[in-house]
């Protein structure tokens, strides 16, 4: 009885092997749209197309972000699970280190259209340098500054800020009763860590040195993190309540007119879902410091995005690669990225009419010129957790009126760094 139930579990995941009949793949998709259901409805017609073309049936499950990493780990550990999966590109190197995914060496990447097909910056965020990536980019994203056009006009502000100093000045003008200059997602750990990275780059900091050792508490990183927290703590252009935001409440605040600015990646579709018209907001690149600090880089976003990967345990690698090729084909790239408001990960369709809206143009420009991948080291996810948590605590301090000094920031970052060492 026991044995029967165990094999039943196993079969569940790998019904592709069901003797000789139609081929079947299992695909875990990440949540890109406004709901799991929306994604399922978006993907299903495309999967039907794929089945028509190749005879391969794809069973899709849309996995929420909160579960995806744990589910991937469980699948990697057990050697059971889906054939093809979406992964957040910041996990690339960590997941690559598990050795559970098919490496896209020259031959393999050739099978899905070749290396040159993909946007270089996006491909750089698919694994550690010097090794074949274990995923290829699927949807590309970048951070941008979203601003409420009407609030800007009402306050007599002509153009979106291009430096942090300007952002603070206009933020103060825009902060008044029931309205704040900027919304942040203060208790969202990965959001925090993404900002830590971009600010760090601008202030000349690195979170890992060349040998992959953590360098969290350097003066540059301390200054960078402090600059971000100070938007709430010192400049008071962020509602202290944002310190407890972790479920995209900052997006809601912006869409509902409670905040005038927001730093987010491809937020257009989320605004739309909340009833904000596309002409109500403008999109600009994320600001830089007015004078570049020593060693500072011209980086204002991470290369954000979703990659698609194939598990080594798949029973039918060829079918899985065919599916990856299909998902990264021109037609699907246009169709899916258009729906999700993200950018194509292949160069061939960049000029498509679907990506000429203001938002997409800004994001594409940022990706092409001033975005850098998060450190592609196996311990990247630890960095996100530890630094993101430290910043959450700093926001909590700022919100409750405690002074966030340089020393306090350094202490939190040192503590986070020590926990990396174990």
């Amino acid at each position: 009885m026991l044995a029967a139930s165990i094999t039943a579990c196993g079969d569940d995941d790998s019904d592709g092997g069901s003797g000789g009949g139609a081929k079947t793949l299992t695909y875990w998709a990440s949540n890109q749209g406004s709901s799991l259901d929306f994604d399922k409805q978006t993907l299903q017609p495309e999967l039907d197309k794929f089945e028509q073309q190749t005879g391969i049936k794809v069973n899709v499950e849309v996995v929420p972000w909160s579960d995806l990493l744990n589910r991937l780990l469980a699948a990697a550990t057990s050697g059971k699970g889906p054939d093809v999966v979406n992964i957040g590109n910041t996990w690339s190197a960590s997941l690559q280190a598990t050795g559970a995914f098919v490496p896209f060496d020259d031959a393999t990447i050739g099978a899905v259209g070749g290396k040159d097909r993909f946007v270089p910056a996006a491909l750089a965020a698919a694994g550690a340098p010097g090794q074949p990536p274990t995923a290829v980019p699927l949807y590309s994203l970048a951070y941008a500054l979203y601003y409420n056009k009407k609030m800007f006009t009402d306050a007599g502000i002509a153009a979106p800020p291009t430096t942090w100093e300007e952002l603070v000045t206009v933020g103060k003008k825009l902060t008044k009763a029931n309205q704040w200059g900027l919304a942040v997602e203060g208790a969202n750990i990965s959001e925090n860590s993404h900002h830590a990275f971009a600010f760090g780059q601008q202030w000349g900091g690195e979170w890992f040195d060349a040998s992959g050792k953590p360098t969290f508490d350097t003066p540059q990183n301390v200054a960078a993190v402090k600059r971000y927290i100070d938007l709430m703590a010192v400049d008071k252009i962020v509602n202290p309540s944002n310190a407890e935001y972790a479920q995209n409440q900052s997006v809601s605040d912006f869409a509902n007119g409670k905040a005038a600015m927001l730093l987010w990646q491809a937020a257009g579709s989320a605004f739309k879902a909340q009833g904000m018209a596309p002409d109500a907001y403008g999109v600009a690149p994320v600001p830089f410091p007015a004078t570049t600090p020593a060693g500072g880089k011209k980086v204002n976003s991470m290369v954000a995005g979703i990659n698609i990967a194939v598990f080594k345990h798949t029973k039918d690698k060829d079918a899985a690669l065919q599916f990856v090729k299909f998902m990264t084909s021109d037609a699907e790239q246009v169709q899916l990225n258009k729906t999700y408001g993200s950018l194509p990960s292949v160069t061939t369709v960049a000029s498509d009419a679907a990506f000429q809206a203001e938002e997409q143009k800004v994001l594409a420009q940022v990706l092409a010129t001033s975005a850098a991948p998060l450190p592609q080291v196996a311990e990247e996810s630890k960095f996100e957790t530890l630094v993101g948590t430290a910043m959450k605590e700093l926001f909590a301090d700022a919100a409750s009126g405690k002074a966030v000094t340089e020393g306090a920031v350094k202490e939190k970052l040192s503590n986070a760094q020590q926990q990396m060492g174990s």
Binding site: T98, A187, E244, A378, E379, E393, A396, Q418, Q419
Partner: protein
């Protein structure tokens, strides 16, 4: 003075004495009983013992993302994970100790309050009156609700700007400023409230069941002897509830100490320092930071601690009972 103090002891002999099992000399001749036990033992092994042994084994390995696919490749590090975990001067050990302190305080308060609420509600509803069934049902609702749905509702209540709690506090003038409940120092109290809200109905249920076994004559006798409410509670109810309480408090303690759902839903994967319960702490140390060996070492240490507490508790409470 009054003689009611001995009432429980007098009552005890009237309870049916165990007639004892068939004489131990008649050992089972056939192996049938053992055979019948085999499925249960196998399942027990599969469900409890094997995962526990695997957990202990994991705690002796350096198990990170590099090795999870093939555990046999994970280097054996002996007690290194424990050294890092239990070294209270190191960063990992210090955080674990902080989390441990928070958890002990949280568990003590939560179990104590849940038990008190359960006791008083149980005593209050002991005598039949109109509407008793309705009250019982209402009291048990939190226990019947799915954890996630219930705790998510609490997160809405605790939100600073839009939460019900702050709305009430500010409109009634109890607070000038809207305090935070989900971050900072208040998060501990928010967690405690939710925990008590969730677990007191269980205490209530057990105590209510225990009270069914208290003969009404004892209360009558106590009343005739002039015992008031508190005296009856202290000298009749509590002694009669002792066996129930012994198990109830132990179970509540273990559940609360290990509670993962409440803080996880309330705070997400990373709880504020002030409410960093040990279960969440271990989750963060293994799953989120991919250090499974260390997470296992913490889990094993926790298991040993809970075993120790349980053993001491049972020893002490049983010894106290024995002389009676």
């Amino acid at each position: 003075m009054v003689t009611t103090t001995t009432a429980p002891e007098q009552a005890r002999p009237s309870a049916p004495k165990r007639t004892g099992r068939k004489a131990p000399s008649r050992l089972p001749r056939s192996k049938l009983p053992y055979l019948l036990l085999v499925p249960a033992i196998l399942l027990e092994l599969l469900v409890h013992v094997v995962p526990m042994v695997v957990g202990v084994w994991m705690s002796l390995l350096e198990l990170t993302q590099f090795q999870i696919r093939d555990w046999s490749a994970a280097p054996f590090v002996g007690l290194d994970n424990y050294k890092a975990t239990l070294d209270i001067n190191g960063p990992v050990g210090k955080d674990l100790l902080d989390s441990f302190r928070v958890t002990v305080l949280y568990t003590t308060l939560s179990v104590g309050l849940s038990w008190l609420f359960g006791l008083f509600a149980g005593v209050f509803l002991q005598r039949p009156f109109r509407g008793r069934a309705v009250l019982r049902t209402i009291f048990l609702t939190p226990y019947a609700l799915p954890v996630y749905a219930a705790v998510i509702t609490w997160t809405f209540i605790f939100q600073r700007d839009t939460g019900l709690l702050n709305e009430v506090l500010t409109t009634t003038g109890l607070a000038d400023d809207r305090p935070f409940w989900l971050i900072g120092g208040n998060s501990f109290w928010a967690l405690l409230v939710v925990s008590v809200w969730r677990s007191w109905p269980f205490a209530f249920l057990c105590i209510m069941a225990g009270l069914q076994n208290v003969p009404t004559e004892m209360y009558e006798a106590a009343a005739i002897d002039g015992a008031g409410f508190w005296r009856r509670l202290k000298d009749v109810t509590l002694p009669m509830l002792r066996p129930v309480n012994q198990v109830l408090i132990l179970v509540l303690f273990l559940w609360t100490f290990n509670d993962f759902n409440t803080p996880f839903v309330l705070f997400g994967g990373s709880a504020p320092e002030q409410a960093d319960l040990i279960s969440i702490h271990i989750y963060r140390s293994s799953f989120i930071t991919w250090n499974f060996g260390q997470g296992s070492a913490m889990s094993v240490a926790l298991l040993l601690f809970l075993l120790l507490v349980t053993a001491v508790y049972l020893l002490v409470t049983n010894r106290r009972r024995d002389p009676a």
